[in-house]
């Protein structure tokens, strides 16, 4: 089955203590779509400007991503620029140029409206709503978010939560949303806001799922060196949704292994700038790290 993914399609200029990379392909939807493409067919919903490089369109195509829902509009592609500190955990936004995103109104082709798996990757909650409004009875809808929307669009986000099956956020966002320091107390409060499946991402500490079948403690793959963590969270949730869309059986049965696969794609994402490493990945390399994670957690 296919996954429909909406989110930002952007150019990222990323500075780390060791390097500077201007105008890489980035955005939540780009990372999530490429990650999902290793497991299932992907339909991308997004918008780019006339300056969007052809080689990035070709990159999407190489991953078999359906671009019928990718609009090209007059103006510039969304451009984000950020800088990481030495420990790679803290980042600072240097510049945000919304460009064509300012007037983006996602419109789904008919062929897209029946997609069974829907990932509302990080983007304004109002746009996540608009995509959901056009869907016909999807099987499993998951949304991601970021601190910005908790700050400036909380009412929209709170209205979105009851429309979701799953909600993914990081630990500091969970704290901001619930005022709870304890992850498990936060999970309990987020369930009350709507979603049955809540996943809190903790970066290099892995992630925690709370679901009708209880908790799952999902490890991160051990990395000795992080090159650039931009897009790791999007790769995680993209890989997870791609895996879920093709796995046989119920979401409950598959979601743990789906998270592990997402976690592995995220680990590769961290090993290169932007999508540089992820885009060179082979499915067999993912399977290899999944096996290693099995060994690393068995007792």
């Amino acid at each position: 089955m296919s996954v429909l993914i909406v989110g930002s399609t952007a150019l990222d200029s990323i500075k780390t203590p060791n390097a500077e990379n201007p105008r890489l392909l980035g955005g939540s939807a780009s990372h999530a779509a490429v990650a999902a493409s290793f497991f299932s067919p992907v339909k991308l919903i997004g918008v780019v400007g006339h300056d969007f490089p052809k080689r990035y369109v070709q990159l999407y195509r190489r991953h078999g991503i359906d671009l019928t829902g990718l609009q090209t509009m007059p103006g510039k592609t969304f451009h984000w620029s950020g800088e990481y500190e030495l420990n790679m955990n803290n980042r600072r936004t240097l510049l945000t140029e919304l460009g064509v995103f300012e007037t983006f109104n996602p419109t789904l082709p008919k062929t897209h409206q029946a997609a069974p798996f829907v990932l509302l990757a990080n983007i304004a909650p109002a746009l996540q709503h608009r995509v959901l409004d056009q869907m016909r009875k999807p099987k499993f809808v998951v949304a991601d978010t970021m601190d910005l929307w908790l700050n400036i669009a909380l009412p929209d986000l709170l209205k979105l939560l009851p429309r979701l099956d799953g909600f993914v956020l990081n630990d500091s966002e969970a704290h901001q949303l619930t005022k709870e320091d304890n992850v498990f107390a936060a999970l309990r409060k987020i369930h009350k806001l709507g979603p049955k499946y809540v996943i809190i991402k903790k970066g290099s500490h892995g992630s925690i799922l709370s679901s009708p079948r209880g908790f799952f403690i999902c490890p991160a793959y051990p990395l000795h060196k992080v090159c650039d963590p931009t897009g790791a969270g999007d790769s995680f949730v993209g890989g997870m949704m791609g895996y879920l869309a093709t796995a046989r059986g119920s979401v409950d049965k598959n979601i743990r292994r789906a998270m592990i696969n997402g976690s592995v794609v995220a680990s590769f994402c961290c090993e290169g700038f932007g999508l540089n490493r992820t885009t060179k990945l082979k499915r067999a390399q993912i399977d290899q790290r999944v096996k290693e994670l099995e060994k690393l957690t068995r007792f």
Copy 2:
């Protein structure tokens, strides 16, 4: 087989945002010894003053702890007082009265010198050396430490590391010791300082073992509420050593399950002030949480 444990035996006055508890039984050796006692016989090495309450001696005895090596000296028992912030992660030392610890010189009874498992719980590295000097070919020696010794006794600690089989420290201490932000890079550097088994504790994020058989990602048991985390790290390593001392087969075969058992005892420790919860524990309750952790990590 039995575990010999040396460390601090103290009175702890603990303040949290919700409560204040004066002069609880505390210290690294007390927490580690009680935790180990659920699995194996324990020989305690420590020192207390004339003010040490009889009920705490009785508490040790109820856990079957051999007190032949616990000295009583003229003067006051070591007293530590600390305060936790609302999130229970940051703590501030309010007061440290060394008392009889100032002149403590651990002397091992003959019966103790052949103990196969030795835990040098958190205490000055010079005292950890003195205990090791008196041991006859122990099978497995593990030491814990704290930031204080990295600050004021680093040369002693660096001389201790090659004498150890295992070394346990938390993530901020690992960073302080190696200048590495990345846990796996830090582990690699610590191996070069001597120990074959290195464990980095990450509080509610669990712990990571690096050993001749590779990494193990050890989860923390999910707690919705932490009452008082004092002694959780000592309970973890104490429980681990107690488990190792009675498990059949090699350390390599048993250390993962030993860490899981230690992690579970630490979770109970966090649910009460000082040793209040740990001391009421039954082995069956530990086994129950170990089983739950198996379910929470399986995929």
